[in-house]
């Protein structure tokens, strides 16, 4: 468990350290913060509006006590901002469209309109059963191997859907950046009846999309599930392929009313750029209905 005082200074591009004083949040500053990039964007390397490509694979980890769903909401909102032309493909395992629509509407982003504009694709996988639901009786008579094949079929079908939507949302020039978000890998594992190898295969397929079409892949999973497993292949491999890992944890010191938890962002950097050192930042956050406040520990009065 990392603690609040593990904070390293975060360097921005001009190689100028942030001093904590600049993060002193008076109400007027807070308002300015809304428009200026926040700590999370800076840590993700999204803060400069230039064409620096964002990370290819982002892994978000959370736990029972602290949900990191707000990071997904933030990334949806960012990619769908009116300034950019980026498209989002959202694979939902945990919540229905109405839930996300309601939240994003509060954040000033109309998913229904964007869906009509073909910038937002919502794949509802709430009822996905990897051995297809229509043949359960037939399945009972199958051996494990055959069942495994069918399970793989369900996952492949989903991949096919994603690939198709990527191709649909690509602009002719291929200039559009596409983000694929998967809101809960854990539920996908449940849908695949616990065969993590199928889930991993799926993720590797999706990863090929990132190189082929220049998409980025954002995946949410729960870290605490695997804490008692001896060799948790799934999460370890996911952490390995991720360029950025975002971890949400509760405060080590217990609950606080105005601090909802701590985010740790580990930016491994992409392989094209030579960077020998991981950039790691951690800061506190407070989730509000229409935004999230990020701040360094102790920088708020």
């Amino acid at each position: 468990m990392s603690r609040v005082w593990h904070v390293q200074p975060c360097w921005d591009d001009a190689n100028k350290p942030f001093t904590l004083a600049t993060q002193n949040l008076t109400p007027s500053r807070l308002k300015a913060m809304d428009r200026s990039p926040n700590l999370l964007d800076q840590a993700l390397g999204l803060h400069d509006g230039e064409s620096t490509r964002s990370a290819r694979v982002v892994l978000i980890e959370d736990c029972v006590e602290t949900s990191a769903a707000f990071v997904l909401h933030h990334l949806i909102k960012r990619s769908l901002s009116p300034l950019s032309s980026a498209a989002v493909i959202f694979v939902a395992f945990s919540q229905p469209f109405s839930h996300y629509d309601r939240i994003l509407r509060k954040m000033g982003c109309n998913l229904v309109a964007l869906r009509d504009n073909k910038r937002f694709t919502f794949l509802d996988m709430l009822t996905l059963e990897c051995p297809g639901e229509n043949q359960p009786a037939f399945l009972c008579s199958l051996s494990d191997e055959d069942a495994g094949k069918i399970c793989k079929g369900g996952v492949l079908e989903l991949y096919g859907k994603i690939q198709k939507s990527v191709e649909v949302s690509l602009l002719p020039g291929g200039s559009r950046s596409i983000t694929i978000l998967i809101d809960d890998i854990f539920l996908m594992e449940v849908a695949a009846k616990g065969s993590s190898s199928h889930v991993l295969d799926f993720l590797h397929y999706c990863r090929t999309l990132t190189t082929e079409f220049g998409c980025s892949l954002v995946v949410l999973n729960h870290e605490d599930i695997y804490s008692s497993v001896e060799r948790p292949t799934l999460i370890l491999q996911m952490e390995y392929i991720a360029e950025v890992i975002i971890k949400a944890e509760p405060l080590a010191t217990g609950f606080a009313r105005d601090v909802h938890g701590q985010l740790t962002v580990i930016n491994k950097g992409n392989s094209d750029r030579l960077s020998l050192q991981n950039k790691m930042c951690s800061f506190h956050f407070r989730v509000r209905g229409n935004s999230v406040e990020y701040f360094y520990p102790g920088s708020r009065t």
Binding site: V64, E65, T66, S67, A69, F70, H73, P96, S98, H99, D101, R102, I103, R105, K106, G108, N110, V112, A113, D116, L126, T127, E129, P136, F186, L187, V190, A191, K193, G194, H222, D224, I225, Y226, S227, S228, V229, F255, R257, H260, V287, R288, G289, V292
Partner: protein, 363 residues
């Protein structure tokens, strides 16, 4: 603009403007949620209104004590009092027999006296001549008391529920014993849920599902962990698209730690109950009112429906007490004053002090 069915504005109406629903036992909450009562007034208050319709509530059992049954009984009784359909699944062979042990609501005569007490227990010292204003306000707050059934009753654990509630048609009982296949149970759930589909803004009735001790050895579901998770996932999805709350109790120690975590992630609202040992001297010194406690209830997770804002409670652990050996009360833990120094109490919150009238210091 967008389709005409969905509102395209980012402003949503403030909830308090909404009219109170005609159906008893239903309350509107923020973000378009609709609550039904848990059957324990204090738990409703703690959770901000009750259990939201369409959510999956899980209670982690203490395998050494049947405290989860207290929650389950009150939840079921409350539903029957409001004439809501109920599906009850249990590992016992005769699940219908359990209905005979459900508690009955406290009569309104007792209710008045309760009001009086809670008012005194608030810990506020109010001069007697202002009492009448206080009482008036409370009556307004509690709302339509006369005529209609209340949103939330207090239950008398000593008296069984009247027969006419139990013999009503819309109770479905399932024994989970001996069935090695979850699909039949899933089918029963889905036929039950099909009666109560969700239409936006138009509720005719709310239903309840209570499942006791899922995944106990009697159910013969052991080494079916993934099937069980997949059952829970599909139940959660079915419940979400209907006007039903499902409460499931399960013993977390019978599954492996990583599966227990998975179960917890599937829950929308996660509670746990714990018994407290009889002769724990250390704890007795630490907490006030230790003698009256029967157990502890912890709130781990509260449903985040249509919002990203997590619910942070004042305290997460509450003591379960029986008032007059009859009705369930939940209270914040109060740290007992240590001789000499009275400060540094973490879990106290002013509103719940004064619960012990046995001459402790009154802050």
């Amino acid at each position: 603009m967008a389709a005409s069915k969905t509102r395209s504005s980012s402003f949503s109406r403030h909830i308090s403007v909404l009219p109170t629903p005609q159906i008893p036992g239903i309350k509107y909450g923020p973000n378009g949620t609709i609550f039904v009562s848990s059957g324990i007034p204090d738990l409703d208050r703690i959770l901000g209104g009750g259990f939201p319709l369409g959510s999956l509530v899980m209670v982690m059992e203490d395998i050494e004590a049947p405290h989860h049954m207290l929650l389950l009984r009150n939840f079921m009784s409350q539903g029957l009092v409001h004439n809501q359909p109920l599906l009850y699944g249990s590992p016992s062979r005769e699940p219908r027999a359990f209905l005979g042990t459900l508690p009955t609501p406290v009569l309104s005569k007792d209710d008045k006296s309760r009001d009086h007490e809670t008012e005194q227990e608030k810990g506020l010292r109010i001069a007697w001549q202002y009492r009448k204003y206080f009482g008036e306000h409370q009556q307004n707050f509690e709302g339509q008391r006369d005529g209609k059934p209340e949103y939330c009753n207090e239950f008398d654990l000593q008296k069984p529920l009247e027969r006419h509630y139990i013999s009503s048609q819309n109770i479905d009982c399932i024994s989970l014993q001996g069935s090695t296949n979850l699909s039949s149970f899933r089918d029963r759930c889905s036929t039950f849920l099909a009666q109560l589909p969700r239409y936006d803004g138009n509720i005719t009735c709310a239903g309840r599902i209570a499942i006791q001790s899922l995944y106990t050895p009697q159910c013969e579901y052991s080494n079916m962990e993934w099937e069980m998770l997949s059952f829970l996932r599909s139940l959660k999805n079915m419940v979400r698209s209907s006007n039903v709350v499902a409460v499931i109790t399960f013993p977390p120690s019978l599954v492996s730690p990583s599966f227990s975590k998975r179960w917890q992630h599937l829950a929308d609202t996660l509670l746990s109950v714990r018994a407290i040992p009889d002769e724990d001297k250390e704890l007795a010194n630490l907490l006030t009112g230790y003698q009256d406690m029967v157990g502890l209830l912890s709130v781990h997770k509260v449903t985040q429906c249509n919002t990203q804002v997590p619910v942070f409670l004042e305290a997460t652990t509450f003591s379960i007490k029986l008032k007059k050996r009859r009705s369930l009360v939940l209270e914040c833990l109060n740290q007992a004053p240590i001789d000499g120094s009275s400060g540094s109490s973490y879990a106290t919150s002013g509103s719940c002090s004064g619960s012990s009238k046995t001459g402790k210091l009154d802050f």
